[in-house]
Symmetry: C2
Subunit: 336 residues, 2 copies
């Protein structure tokens, strides 16, 4: 059923070598006669021959495959990012193995070793957890790794991320400029570098405005539930905030859910500023004002850096922070 060089060679009474040379376009280089070349090409076409990438990989020690470790395709932010990465990888004639780590450090590390065993030529990863020894081992001993979104500070693995500090700072400034004083921040995973940068931006903006007494950071997960529960708590406090800065798309959904249950309206009773951008946010009630990350640029750059490394080109600056963009919605009210 499956054709190989040898089946063709046998049928034509030539050697496997000759067939290989013809079909890999090296007929001239190795002085195969036009006649033989034509015969081989014809037969290959006839039987629809396609070389086994597995055999080629074994021989060339290149699988033309890259691995993508993403925390959750169900999250539109990572789904979009994956979509861009897959298409960039495809553009270069490679294929992508996708592993969904479900935000789990064990899955992440297992996925990593699995990719190494599969001899992928490179890995793009959104890491989970704090322990970076395995990733670093892989990156320096086996396969080039590039991180996206999340990263490890002061470690030599290249990464591309948003300037999360700027995102946190700008967003908070926007709220402050709108007159808000009591701005609560609901954060995600506390060990995640992007999260902490966003929080740092938030804190700096708050302090700079002399609002330190109102500074308030809660939460510990990038989930709807976390946003929901923390908002429940916030709204039960004696002094309710006038604005919430939610550090992810999912957290914002939780905030909205809790706000609705409390019978409060956004932005009249409570302002909301979200991290992450997504088409649907324009269609929400109200459309969310948000900090959009440059997902496509990050995906393109990460892929480019990875391929530069695969091809042995040392990339210049390989730890990059791209600026986020604030997208105006209607979820922030002006306070006089």
């Amino acid at each position: 059923m499956k054709e190989s060089l040898s089946t063709i060679a046998e049928r034509l009474g030539v050697s496997v070598t000759t067939v290989s040379r013809v079909l890999s376009g090296n007929a001239g280089k190795y002085r195969i006669s036009k006649a033989t070349e034509a015969r081989i090409r014809a037969e290959a076409d006839r039987c629809n021959y396609a070389p086994s990438l597995v055999a080629q990989s074994l021989r060339s020690r290149q699988t033309k495959t890259i691995g993508l470790l993403t925390p959750s395709l169900a999250n539109p932010y990572f789904a979009e990012m994956s979509s861009f990465i897959i298409s960039e990888v495809h553009r270069r004639g490679f294929t992508t193995i996708v592993i969904d780590t479900m935000e789990n450090e064990i899955n992440f590390n297992e996925g990593l070793t699995k990719l190494v065993a599969r001899q992928v030529d490179g890995i793009i990863a959104v890491p989970c957890g704090q322990d970076h020894t395995i990733v670093e081992g892989v990156n320096s001993n086996f396969v080039p790794v590039v991180l996206v979104d999340r990263y490890y500070e002061n470690f030599p693995i290249p990464y591309v991320t948003t300037n999360n500090y700027k995102g946190g700072y700008d967003a908070t400034r926007l709220l402050i400029d709108a007159g808000h004083k009591s701005i609560a921040c609901i954060q995600g995973v506390r060990t995640s570098a992007p999260n902490n940068e966003r929080v740092r931006g938030y804190r700096d903006a708050i302090e700079e405005a002399g609002l330190k007494e109102f500074e308030f950071v809660a939460g510990n997960e990038f989930s709807i539930q976390n946003g929901y529960l923390e908002t429940k708590l916030l709204l039960s406090r004696h002094l309710k905030p006038t604005a919430i800065f939610a550090l992810s798309n999912n957290i914002s959904l939780g905030v909205i859910k809790a706000t609705r249950e409390a019978g409060l309206r956004i932005p009249e009773d409570l302002s909301l500023l979200s991290f992450d951008n997504y088409t649907y946010m324009d269609y929400m009630e109200p459309p969310l004002t948000r900090v959009g990350q440059p997902v496509e640029d990050m995906a393109i750059l990460a892929t480019k850096i990875l391929f530069d490394r695969i091809e042995g080109i040392a990339p210049g600056a390989s730890q990059l922070r791209l600026s986020p963009t604030i997208i105006q919605g209607a979820s922030v009210s002006r306070i006089i």
Copy 2:
């Protein structure tokens, strides 16, 4: 850097065969002494040996990989579906190569042949276009294929899809029962079987209710733009519909956009019923009433059928339609 059976064998002064037998757990079966076994295991641990899946694949003619052809990871419906499929595949110890076809028939066919060249053990695909000769060739000659969501009628490729007819019918009935008479339907790709089943359900419900004079189907793409443009046209007609049945999530977004631009409110001025379910729809203005497809069940079943075929177990019924569920939102008003 990379360890292999032979590097270990050489260091220990034993044969590659012996190392292989020990590490694949066949030491007993081939009478390798406990002492040798221990030495080999120790050394394998020490140097962190992991077998090359490429070499194993070549030898065993099994790559333990399945291919997933999806139209667009940027669409949450397919992203969720992919997420479930990837996780089901992972559960079985396989990995998934994802190809984003971008709703393009050429990309789809290229992806298909690429997967075959990579010797994947099976393929799960959401097909694009009408020409199914290539898919059928692959399915019957090389690799088992299972289709999800879209399918080809009267052809022997297994598929799992929503009972789209029921979805179209039930949704339309819901609108009719709410008192609507003039219900317009904005459809997606006209050559897609699910689309046509939805339309058929719509038409049947309309006719059954004696509303044939109001029957109206427009559109030709599962995109925001299509929903937007068709709604623009609809709203400019002399007789505006009182309800729109949008046959996909993206089409609905377009409908909302056009409706807003026209200064009309949903559901007060126009009712909207959407196909597809997504978390964000609960947070929209208004929350959408919609026909949710059993995405997770479809993913699980498709994967199961594929693995049954891979393992040579003939699946019983392999062309399945799962019932959709109507999810109540607030985008449909009652007309008296």
